[in-house]
Symmetry: C2
Subunit: 249 residues, 2 copies
């Protein structure tokens, strides 16, 4: 197997409603799970307000630091939807009517329904590539390594399928979980030794409380299955010695 | 009423499990809702991995840019819990046993249960102020304007009550929501005019789908009730003209 380069991404959540606590973001988890499955590691997530300068500055930083940037939110028809104009300015591109998007929405709406508000949604950075929207018509868009998606979680989800061929991932990041009937402090030292001997494997330890009982999930992550297996053996060895029970969660 | 200065904060979520998509963050929403209620506006949220240099650099940036920084995660007993040592380095403080925390945990656990793993949780930046934990014993801590809380949502929630007197907020940010049986594009232009005439009020527009029907929530946010009322009157005027129904959500 040839080793591919590591591929990473940042997620940029744009929206006052997340920062006010009014809306619970779920797009981070959706995007991160999907990106991991296609071999893209999420380095960082930022949530920022609907302020043009903040969007421009943050995007210009993140797009240079990461292979990909995925933005969510701010591409609807109202005055607080300023992602497309901000992305245009970030790239120094014209903000203009996207002819293909116009045709899509003209066909999508009934005659007379393609009103001024909806027409705002076809304004994009010049030469943007569209990201089709099978749920509600209005497309997202892509400029260089930046992919702009809507904030509504069900619509965002429905658009990921169409994106897959445009994202080139590295080796998929494999993940293996061991659930134990124990508490973190019981295994902390042993787990720390395993981590020291397996620097390439990311070992996470997460307490859980399920069906009235405490437990710990140990999560092993790596691009390399052998390394995960090796790490798993070492963990199984010490939990056997400590007589800790492995459980379904 | 004397006008207080605006007070802002950043939230720093520390944890690979959020970036991998394995865990859905809910602490942002909890903290943001609570901070807003005490007059602290959240400017920014960042999610970063369990990497010491990243934690140090991000924290040193955020703590200078904001009145307060709240971190979540990484203060447990395992090898991947590196928040306390990273915060110590960020402030150039010794990382040492906190005597008061030691006493608390010594009293909290049964004799013989205060093992090596648990003892790790009393290591903190020197002279840190404790944030008491009524749920599971192990305290969080506070250095200058940085407050370090655990990642487990139920534990984090239980610790906020004890923090309230240590955060000095500005005017509470008031929020008023109008739910309409319409779609965003129908009201986009009128709403945009209201925003232009009410620059001080943050007007958000959020589509919803509830009980089989589409609607839009308009959210008005400001420290000043009169400004919200004035803005609300202007919105009620145009929705009456447009014969749009106001609904409970």
């Amino acid at each position: 197997m040839t080793k591919k380069t590591k591929v990473n991404a940042a997620i940029l959540i744009i929206g006052n409603e997340i920062l006010s606590g009014r809306t619970q973001d779920t797009n981070t988890s959706t995007l991160a799970t999907w990106l991991n499955s296609i071999g893209v590691k999420v380095n960082e997530v930022r949530v920022i307000p609907d302020i043009e300068k903040t969007i421009i500055d943050t995007l210009n930083f993140l797009r240079k630091e990461n292979n990909y940037v995925f933005t969510t939110g701010g591409i609807g028809p109202t005055h607080d939807d300023i992602t497309a104009q901000s992305v245009s300015k970030a790239f120094g591109l014209k903000y203009e009517i996207h002819k293909e998007a116009f045709k899509i929405l003209e066909a999508y709406y009934q005659p007379g329904e393609f009103n001024e508000g909806r027409k705002k949604m076809v304004w994009m950075p010049e030469n943007a590539e569209l990201i089709l929207n099978p749920t509600s018509g209005a497309p997202g868009f892509n400029v260089e390594n930046v992919f702009c998606l809507p904030g509504v979680p069900s619509i965002l989800k429905s658009m990921l399928g169409g994106l897959k061929n445009r994202i080139v991932g590295g080796e998929p990041i494999l993940s293996f979980t061991i659930n134990l009937r124990t508490v973190e402090s019981e295994i902390a030292n042993s787990l720390s030794k395993v981590q020291d001997q397996n620097k390439d494997v990311e070992i996470g330890s997460y307490p859980f409380f399920h069906a009235g009982k405490l437990g710990v999930s140990i999560v092993l992550r790596s691009e390399n299955k052998n390394k995960i297996d090796n790490c798993n053996s070492q963990i199984l060895k010490f939990i056997k010695e400590k007589k800790i029970e492995v459980v379904d969660r």
